[in-house]
Symmetry: C2
DNA sequence: TAGCTTGTTGGCGGAGCGTCAACAGCAAGA
DNA sequence: TCTTGCTGTTGACGCTCCGCCAACAAGCTA
């Protein structure tokens, strides 16, 4: 009689459903702080039972991790672009690209990279830190710097620190609107130039001490 | 007989009790993320009933706010110190002072200023942002800069952005241990110098546009 | 010692989250 | 078309955490 009596819910492929939930979660996490987005909200937004979130992502924290990962997985710098020109030209091009990329992601980027996240969760920090590191390596590559491997770790740490400047500046630009894009571009370019040109050479001079103790390993490894 | 049968709990002055609870809370918030510190933990740490936290601080969030405020209320820069010498000397002295101050607070500072906090809570952000602003103004004063009021807001925004670099660098130093104190000092000094010396003059040249629209206000303010 | 002020306790009710057994969409076989 | 089975999906149960509040008791005062 009644032709099939439309089903109460639609059955999707796992990947489809996962993707759909991820999108809804990303949107909500971009609008409100982590703690103020309940799994009920996300489930409702996706038109799905709350338990399904756990089925696909485990804990709420894991779902948030996926959102962060996706947000930080930006299209890579076009390293194929001819990276010629002066240091300043390369730096400004790099900054230009980054500002463009961030502008498209908008508030969600700010929310995820800033304090808008979950809090000092070790896993979240690891993810973001890794992403920062990838960005750092990309930046170094993009600038065409050949660094000897010995001090590479410190250079990367420097660039990660620079990432802090980048994020703070972008926050001032996107949210606070206290800086214009030109201001941000100027600040970030000058800072990056001085780091690469002035700080790195000085770093290279130092004997790259391994920091802390762990010198004189004669007494045994266990301390 | 038994001399007074010691009471089950001691009655304190409100200020004392408040202070005691604040200390315990600060310690725990420094050790674990916000979400993983339950009010029960704090109450237990302070040897007090959980309900008392609400009595003195209202919500858990408000207690955290108090902790953040206390943490950011650092002893001011000794502006009385003779601020003579070259720009580089003043900058290096400023950075020196800041690194010293942070070193004493250690992990709690990192936890509070970094992503170790509550998340994108508007109130927390406002507090931290205000503290950043105070730090920015102090820094400008300390550097002995006389800025015309017109572009003052932008300069402060720049210094707040610089604060992002400071925090990230300190994180690399304190937690990651990927940078030595000398590395941090070098990076922060050079960056601050280039901002004050190269970025600010360029900023001052621009006509300080009020940003965004709100130009040609003839069509009406409501848009 | 009796009384009063108020710092403090402990339990109630609600909200959010993880788990899990049962349900149902839907495709393949008879 | 009916049946069967796989598995995507649901909904409720139990736990933990938090804000609230009436009752309790520490300790000063007369």
């Amino acid at each position: 009689m009644s032709p099939a009596l439309s089903p109460r819910w639609k059955r999707l492929e796992p990947d489809e459903r996962r993707e759909q939930i991820l999108e809804c979660a990303a949107r909500l996490f971009g609008e409100r702080p982590y703690a103020e987005v309940s799994t009920t909200d996300i489930a409702k937004e996706a038109g799905v039972a709350r338990g399904l979130l756990n089925h696909y992502f485990g804990q709420k924290r894991d779902l948030y991790l996926k959102v962060v990962k996706r947000m930080l997985l930006m299209p890579g710098l076009e390293t194929s672009v001819t990276m010629t020109g002066t240091l300043r030209e390369r730096v400004e091009k790099s900054v230009e690209w980054y500002l463009d990329t961030v502008a498209t992601h908008g508030k969600t980027y700010v929310a995820v990279t800033g304090m808008g996240g979950i809090g000092a969760d070790p896993e979240v920090e690891r993810i973001i830190s890794e992403a920062d590191d990838v960005a750092a390596v990309r930046t170094l590559e993009f600038l065409g710097l050949k660094i000897e491997v010995g001090s590479d770790a410190r250079h990367r740490a420097m660039i990660r620190s620079y990432g802090g400047l980048v994020k703070a500046t972008i926050r001032e630009w996107i949210r606070g609107e206290t800086l214009s894009r030109e201001d941000a571009h100027l600040l970030l370019s000058e800072a990056l130039i001085v780091i690469v040109r002035d700080v790195f050479p000085q770093l290279a001079q130092q004997p790259a001490p391994a920091r802390g103790e762990a010198r004189t390993p004669k007494t045994g490894p266990k301390r």
